[in-house]
């Protein structure tokens, strides 16, 4: 027996079909406008949780990247300081070797003393280098000079760390107490005292001082090399962190896109499909609604 169809059913059914087709069209249009298939958590809960975590990561990594760049520049500048000091010490060492015996005249020795003095002043100035509003070798006390004219250390041993990766902090300053003053270093020496020893020997024409400065200057050179090596190690750590960030950025961006982004070609094809369906539903509805058997029966 055929199913009975009431008049309201025909209208309600047509209405429901049109609404359904429109609803689908609106959903596809939203994807087209946003180019995203994941617009809200309920669209794909697992995907959304993953994407959200990745975006949190991205947000933090952006700052870590920035900090890593700052750390890199600070360490690079500090390396430059020690390079300059190393060069000055090398020259001082050469002068010490040359003046070790008593063979040179007083006049010559005084000229060498003058050069040594320039070297000494240059080293003090270099050790007080400021970068990004900070005296790099001052420790936490970074607003004033690190060393006064006499070579007295005015900073502290504070280690400034910067987070360059989640949970990874790298010190961006070198302890002047260790690197320059030799404190806490096995066989360490005070670089400034080494220079002062040479200077005193030259200025007072005291060969004994000149001779004893040779060993001190040699140790100072080694100390500078060690400090530069330490900086190099830290800069490698930063480079590794930046490389990890770059890799993560690439992978995470890809994963986020895979989960979140709509396939543009599919979306446009769906839009066309939905429009076709809507047209077909409307056309069918029109046929059903325009056909009025009631009128035909009654004539």
């Amino acid at each position: 027996m055929p199913t009975r169809v009431s008049t309201a059913q025909i209208f309600d059914g047509t209405h429901a079909h049109i609404l359904k087709a429109r609803d689908q069209q609106v959903t596809t249009a939203e994807q087209s406008a946003t180019q995203k298939k994941l617009v809200r958590p309920s669209d794909n809960v697992g995907g959304w949780v993953k994407v959200n975590s990745l975006k949190d990561d991205q947000s933090v990594r952006e700052t870590l990247n920035r900090n890593a760049a700052v750390a890199s520049h600070v360490l690079s500048t500090t390396e430059g300081i020690f390079e300059n000091v190393f060069n000055s010490l090398t020259r001082a060492y050469e002068l010490a070797i040359a003046q070790a015996g008593n063979s040179d005249s007083l006049q010559n020795r005084q000229m060498v003393a003058s050069e040594a003095r320039e070297l000494y002043n240059g080293v003090i100035q270099t050790l007080n280098t400021r970068f990004a509003n900070r005296t790099l070798l001052g420790g936490f006390k970074s607003q004033g000079i690190a060393f006064d004219e006499e070579g007295n250390f005015l900073g502290d041993s504070g280690q400034i760390e910067i987070e360059v990766d989640r949970g990874l902090k790298i010190p961006i300053n070198i302890s002047a107490e260790q690197a320059v003053l030799g404190r806490g270093v096995l066989g360490g020496t005070n670089v400034i005292e080494a220079l002062k020893t040479l200077l005193t020997g030259l200025e007072e024409n005291n060969t004994e001082f000149v001779n004893s400065s040779i060993d001190l200057l040699r140790k100072s050179l080694e100390q500078m090399t060690t400090a530069r090596a330490e900086i190099g190690g830290r800069m490698n750590g930063i480079k590794d962190a930046l490389a990890r960030h770059s890799l993560k950025d690439e992978h995470e961006a890809g994963l986020i896109s895979e989960i979140e982004d709509a396939d543009a070609i599919k979306v446009f094809s769906d839009l066309a499909r939905d429009q076709t369906i809507l047209n077909a539903v409307i056309s069918t509805g029109q046929k059903l609604l325009n056909d009025q058997p009631f009128e035909k029966i009654l004539g």
């Binding site: 008049t7 809200r40 959304w48 975590s53 700052t63």
Partner: protein, 509 residues
């Protein structure tokens, strides 16, 4: 048979056809009336009487308009209406919650990210006064954002209670109408009238009620529809009814203090009904409020509480640029409840950025250890998996609340519990926010699917009902033709009887 019989039979035929035509017109007029059951003419022949060998009577009569209706289908519709009502209330309102917490244009997680990123920026350059100001602004922005989200969610909570009140009002209107209809149907039945329209109206009222709450519908021997809310009491009994009412009550389970509870008011007692609302729109509203919204707000409050508490704990250990220590970055929270709503930066911080501590040592502009420790909090597992375990006990409150009763406030204007919950580490602040929003999303997805399912069932049942009880214009057109023909034929028979009578009279003349 007497000639008068022919006339009488013809008259009966005319009358019957007229009533049938009227019924067809009635059906056609109500084609689009929601819930209308078409009526069929029940026509029966009148028995002839044989008296002293003479046949008298016979003919036809219109017995009654039969309401074409399937009571079993009606029961199914009522049964499914509850599920549909509940799904509708839940899906729509959970979507609202999701739109706030899962808004892609403004990620809730970024509240935490932006704050900690500003701390990291300061840690890289603690000497920079601009970055202190930046941190203060980020802290202020975090507070404002937490407050705003809390306010919006609380707005939904208040709106759900308002919807509950409105729906309860509507339920009371419907139960009053149902009681009146029961009385009217009873009267009409006593007068042997066919109260078909009243029955349709009553079915529509019962269906609407079933969509609102999980009532049991019982039809008694007098065809009275009685409604019972199981475990609570009688809503409608014949022409009598009891009202529901809404009152603001203390906290219970996930329900917060001052939220609405539904009660049944009878002459004997006031009985709580909320816990017995298992389906329908009213239950849906309560479920969204207590199972989705309140946990989401609690999650937000917990994250805000833990953020302010732990940041303050570290910050107090540090020394500001002014050389002073022991100060907070945020106003110290009093408890988890409403922690997001009351979140603010410490007083005086905005006008005095040197209060921000970056390190432990005074006179050490590059000491950034406090900043690093604060930044570490973002990676720390500070919260347990189930944030519900952290909900601090509510302060005991006796008696009823008035409509706008706020939570208890201390002198600082903070509400909520005074005990600090114990916190164990299984998820970070970001993870807690993500999981909270994920739970809302998961529930929203489930309810969307459930609503689609319920809509499909309701549509099917409605179609079945329509196919049984709905008016078909084609059918009515045929009925019109049929009874019009019969009407004409009966008139013709009467005319023939009249002519016969006239012939007899002419013979007599």
């Amino acid at each position: 048979m007497a000639i008068s019989n022919i006339l009488e039979t013809g008259r009966q035929g005319l009358e019957t056809s007229r009533q049938a035509l009227q019924l067809a017109a009635q059906n056609i007029a109500n084609t689009n009336t929601p819930g209308y059951s078409r009526q069929k003419a029940v026509i029966e022949s009148v028995e002839q009487e044989v008296t002293r060998g003479a046949v008298r009577g016979g003919g036809v009569r219109f017995r009654e308009p039969l309401r074409v209706h399937d009571e079993f289908l009606e029961k199914q519709l009522i049964e499914e209406a509850r599920g549909y009502g509940g799904a509708m209330a839940r899906a729509g309102n959970i979507r609202r919650v999701q739109d706030i917490v899962g808004n892609e244009a403004f990620r809730v997680g970024d509240i935490v990210n932006n704050f900690f990123n500003s701390v990291r920026d300061l840690s890289a350059n603690p000497e920079e006064p601009t970055l202190r100001v930046n941190l203060i602004n980020a802290a202020k922005q975090a507070s404002t954002n937490f407050q705003e989200i809390h306010r919006q969610l609380d707005g939904i909570r208040k709106d759900l209670d308002f919807q509950l009140e409105t729906q309860v009002g509507r339920v009371n209107e419907l139960t009053t109408e149902l009681a009146d209809l029961n009385a009217n149907i009873s009267r009409a039945t006593a007068l042997r009238a066919a109260p078909n329209e009243l029955l349709d109206k009553r079915d529509a009222v019962v269906r609407e009620l079933a969509q609102k709450l999980n009532v049991q519908v019982l039809t008694d021997q007098f065809n009275q529809k009685n409604l019972i809310l199981e475990g609570v009491g009688v809503l409608v009994a014949g022409s009598e009814h009891n009202d529901l009412t809404v009152m603001r009550t203390p906290a219970e389970g996930e329900k917060v203090a001052g939220s609405a509870d539904v009660f049944l008011k009878t002459p004997q007692a006031l009985s709580k009904a909320t816990h017995r609302l298992t389906d329908g729109e009213l239950a849906g509203l309560v479920q969204v409020r207590d199972q989705v919204l309140n946990p989401a707000i609690n999650g937000l409050d917990t994250v805000a509480f833990e953020l302010t508490r732990t940041v303050n704990e570290v910050h107090r250990q540090g020394t500001g640029a002014d050389g002073l220590s022991g100060r907070n970055l945020f106003r110290e929270p009093n408890g988890v409840q409403d922690a997001a709503y009351f979140m603010e930066i410490e007083e005086g911080l905005e006008s005095n950025p040197s209060m921000v501590a970056t390190g432990f040592q005074a006179d050490s502009p590059s000491d950034n250890r406090i900043c690093l420790d604060i930044a570490d909090l973002q990676n720390a597992k500070l919260l347990p998996h189930n944030l519900r375990d952290l909900k601090a006990p509510e302060p005991p409150v006796s008696g009823e609340y008035s409509d706008d009763t706020p939570a208890e406030e201390n002198e600082l204007g903070w509400g909520g519990a005074s005990t600090t919950p114990s916190l164990e580490g299984q998820q970070t602040l970001n993870e807690a926010l993500t999981n909270m929003i994920g739970e809302v999303g998961s529930r929203a997805h489930f309810e969307d699917e459930e609503l689609r399912h319920q809509e499909s069932i309701m549509q099917q049942l409605t179609n079945y009902r329509e196919s049984v009880s709905g008016v078909s214009l084609e059918e009515e057109a045929l009925n019109i033709m049929q009874f019009q023909t019969t009407f004409n034929a009966s008139a013709r028979a009467m005319k023939m009887g009249s002519e016969l009578f006239q012939t007899i009279l002419d013979i007599a003349d």
